[in-house]
């Protein structure tokens, strides 16, 4: 395991633990702020996302002490026509302008029996312009919490 340390003027120095094969040196502009954390990981307010070229999956890795890490995927690659409309309140949470393209990520769960599901019910949405995100929890949503994934 490698211990990498990076620092920048605007945020406190951060240390990232990564696997040996993944050299991850987050720059300030790579850090995504999650002001509310994620449900269950509310204390983790900063994440970095990494992906391998054209692979559909990404890693979303927390930078705080507990370092929660998730595999994510673009929900539109899982379900054709997938679309959630953000409420005005949620758009304000991202400080999103009309023209801002938003990045959507669905969290993948791999179970002990090797089955995998994708959480289409509560995706993560990120405003790349401001590098700020949160997990959307619409009150009414027809997309499933555990959409089967073929692996």
């Amino acid at each position: 395991m490698i211990q990498l340390t990076a620092s920048c003027p605007s945020v406190a120095p951060l240390t990232v633990r990564t696997a040996d094969i993944a050299r991850l040196e987050p720059r300030c502009e790579d850090v995504i702020a999650f002001p509310d954390g994620l449900p269950g990981f509310e204390e983790c307010r900063r994440f970095v996302m990494s992906s391998d070229g054209d692979q559909p999956f990404q890693c979303l890795e927390g930078l705080e002490a507990s370092s929660p890490a998730f595999v994510t995927v673009d929900p539109a690659r899982i379900l054709v026509g997938y679309r959630l409309i953000l409420s005005p309140v949620d758009r304000r949470r991202l400080d999103a302008r009309e023209e801002d393209p938003l990045l959507w990520l669905a969290i993948v769960t791999v179970n002990p029996d090797d089955t995998a599901t994708v959480n289409l019910r509560a995706p993560i949405v990120i405003n790349p312009r401001l590098m700020i995100g949160f997990q959307v929890m619409p009150h009414d949503c027809l997309y499933p919490l555990r959409h089967p994934l073929s692996i």
């Binding site: 395991m1 633990r17 990564t18 696997a19 094969i21 993944a22 002001p35 509310d36 994620l38 449900p39 269950g40 990981f41 391998d52 692979q55 559909p56 999956f57 890693c59 890795e61 370092s67 929660p68 890490a69 998730f70 595999v71 995927v73 690659r77 899982i78 379900l79 054709v80 026509g81 309140v89 304000r92 949470r93 969290i107 993948v108 769960t109 791999v110 179970n111 090797d114 995998a116 994708v118 959480n119 019910r121 509560a122 949160f134 997990q135 929890m137 009150h139 027809l142 997309y143 919490l145 555990r146 994934l149 073929s150 692996i151």
Partner: protein
């Protein structure tokens, strides 16, 4: 836990800008209206708990991620089903 007795159209204030008002009461439940700043997320407890439990199942330690990604290397199959 603070406990209040409130009648219809009565409210409580939390902090600077959060108001919870009783809009209607009935046998099946109580209808509440929440006024809060945009920066404050408001959720039904049971939905929040459901999503939190799913996140806790999905979470991995950072060094497990590469192994997991290798297992997921095949392209996910899209489907048109809702």
């Amino acid at each position: 836990m603070l406990v209040f007795t409130r009648k219809r159209d009565e409210a409580i204030i939390i902090g600077d800008g959060i108001e919870i008002r009783v809009l209607r009461t009935g046998r099946d439940g109580v209808k509440l209206g929440v006024t809060a700043p945009a920066s404050v997320a408001v959720h039904r407890r049971e939905i929040y708990d459901l999503i939190r439990a799913e996140n806790e199942t999905a979470v991995r330690r950072p060094h497990d991620l590469q192994q997991l990604l290798a297992r997921l290397c095949s392209q996910p199959k899209s489907s048109d089903e809702p």
